[in-house]
Amino acid sequence: MSEHIFEYAPAPESASIVDIRPAYGLFINGEWVDGTDGRSFKSVNPATEEVLAEITEAGPADVDRAVTAARTAFETVWGPMPGRERAKYLFRIARLIQERSRELAVLETIDNGKPIRESRDVDLPLVAAHFFYYAGWADKLPYAGFGPDPRPLGVAGQVIPWNFPLLMLAWKIAPALACGNTVVLKPAETTPLTALAFAEICRQAELPPGVVNIVTGAGETGKALVEHPGVDKVAFTGSTEVGKQIARAVAGTRKRLTLELGGKAANVIFDDAPLDQAVEGVINGIFFNQGHVCCAGSRLLVQETIAEELLERLKARMTTLRVGDPLDKNTDVGAVNSAEQLEKIRTLAQIGEAEGATRWSVPCRLPEQGFWFPPTVFTGVAQSHRIAREEIFGPVLSVLTFRTPAEAVEKANNTPYGLSAGIWTEKGSRILWMAQRMRAGVVWANTFNKFDPAAPFGGYKESGFGREGGRHGLEAYLDV
């Protein structure tokens, strides 16, 4: 089927706009510093396996330095600063991001593997908008509904994932700073480069030293950060498994905690839904960002009467997806972020077949180098199958069917997760009826994977707690 795709000439975005240094230190107290124990790791381009840079691995002593710098900045500069002035720093950062958006988009694509079209048109605009939005809150906190004079918490330790590196940084740093906290942020070990570029932006904005500190490393660094006694607030986005470890580590302390974890969202399609629109929504729901999306619509629940027709259209649409060079402006599906993640996706896909589901993958040519997985759909999936219960975090869709709205609700909610859900029907009253019954923090109707800084995002159940975005997102960083 792949020969039916029009041949497009390559349209690669130039990588010359980015300037990746051979090695990066840690960003502590406004300066680049070396790690105390001299350890480092490599960040790799997942589309080529080329080593991009040598990254410092922060040990406990480095984390301690960063937390101390953040504490000092909180007590002497950032905490006492009027909201009006904090706002202006954040507006500066928003503007600098807008000005450097192309460079940051290319850098994100190189380090993460996501298509340039996505980093350019989704990630970066949202990053800038998020800073712009929370900048505006910095001098308006008394109006946010948390009392007349809400106070910041202090030092926030923030650990973010690799699927939306700069966007997750924005979701964490913007509200924390707006509320008057200082931060120590650890980006994911496979995608540290845009966070390190952000450190430079903080310098260009003349943000006071210590307000933002970036420590790079893997799980051990993150552990040192969340367990540091000088941290007042822990914010984590990542897997439910690690989220539970963090909740245990924080238990018994006075630290505040917000968690944005995994998901296994149901995307429910009723027989009256406009099918072509629904197919686009399903495609976007699961193949956007290679399926590395915690709120991905990874379980398709389709009403039995239209299942056959929908699947036919879905597969036809999947064959037109362009998988390949993330820097090509025509690419729809880029590289899987790491060898480790690719292995996890492959394993779960094999389990899907072994448990009896039927697998169909797009017959596309995949590049020789790099980490790739073709867009894949499983039919004949039962609720008991692991591919229907576990988060795959890849371009793999599991299809189940239902007959009645009540059955759709039952199946959609039959998961320990509760981050998001999708509903496709022309009937408004049914959308709202379904939305009321979905045990999920975000419900999209006749759309999917929509994000806006003004809209709160976060999960029910084991998808975590706390909200990011909107007025509600302030609560996570205020002493309320």
Binding site: K140, R430, L432
Partner: protein
């Protein structure tokens, strides 16, 4: 040997209507003096027809401006702050010519810039603060959102920059458009501010500024059937009753504050005065 003195090129202060700078169609002007009583410039003396042109321009701009996303309006208001910051020196100089001391003039300009920043941030937040999801007793999804009133006529106070900014920004941030009658004794800074607005990606017609006699212009605006609201902040006290009466002709929303302190936290009042609350019902059921 000294250089020959260079003769300054003076600016003609005109009106600001529909994004352009026309003179008054009436061909009239009035003299504005500096703090020492010397001739400073001629300000345009707008007529009834200029006021009607300004209302037309504001109405024409309303659909587009109110249809922008709140995020976009916020960006543009912030852009106004950026442009004003770039002309900081010019405004300080103008305020000093009008009689303010250096420190006072600087403080006023800085506060005016920060006020644009304050209101810029409200563009995508007011709905979250004054809107609501309403828990009605029935199977209905019910929510209320603020929407702009329409064209607002603003009689600006005599505080030539901070007061002026403080009455314009809250009107337009929510999507209204306006016709502003500038301070009668201190109109020139309003026209210089118009130059800032004209270079900030603010669509033409969103803000229209008239200079002239308040007693001549305000009654026409208060009575105009295509004006939806009127802000009487700068209206002379003896005119207020008749202006309110005229405004009743099409039930304009009237804001009539007293004793405004332009340096205080502005609060929400000037925004909520010029928004309508829209409530939407939708049934819930399979």
């Amino acid at each position: 040997m000294s250089e020959p003195t260079r003769l300054a090129v003076r600016k003609t202060y005109k009106l600001f209507i529909g994004g352009a700078f026309p003179r008054s169609e009436s061909g009239r002007s009035y003299v504005v003096h500096d703090a020492k009583g010397a001739f400073w410039a001629n300000a345009s003396q707008a007529s009834r027809k200029d006021a009607r042109d300004a209302v037309s321009a504001a109405r024409k701009a309303f659909g587009g401006w109110s249809g922008r996303t709140p995020y976009n309006r916020g960006q543009i208001l912030y852009r106004i702050a950026e442009m004003l910051e770039g002309r900081r020196g010019q405004f300080i100089e103008e305020l000093r010519t009008a009689g303010a001391g250096k420190a006072a003039a600087t403080a006023e300009v800085d506060a005016a810039i920060d006020r644009w920043v304050w209101y810029a941030g409200w563009a995508d937040k007011l709905g979250a603060v004054v809107g609501s999801a309403n828990p009605v007793a029935g199977p209905f999804f019910n929510f209320s959102t603020p929407e702009p009133t329409g064209v607002v006529a603003v009689i600006a106070p005599d505080s030539p920059l901070l007061g002026l900014v403080s009455v314009i920004a809250p009107v337009i941030v929510t999507g209204n458009t306006c016709v502003v009658v500038a301070s009668e004794p201190a109109p020139l800074t309003a026209i210089t501010l118009a130059e800032v607005l004209a270079t900030s990606d603010l669509p033409g017609g969103v803000v229209n500024i008239l200079t002239g006699r308040r007693a001549e212009l305000a009654p026409w605006l208060a009575a105009h059937m295509d004006v939806n609201a009127v802000d009487l902040t700068g209206a002379p006290a003896d005119l207020v009753p008749s202006l309110e009466e005229a405004a009743a002709g099409n039930l304009k929303r009237v804001l009539r504050p007293e004793g405004e302190d332009w340096t205080a936290d502005p609060g929400l009042g000037r925004m909520t005065a010029f928004v309508e609350t829209k409530t939407v019902w939708h049934p819930v059921g399979v």
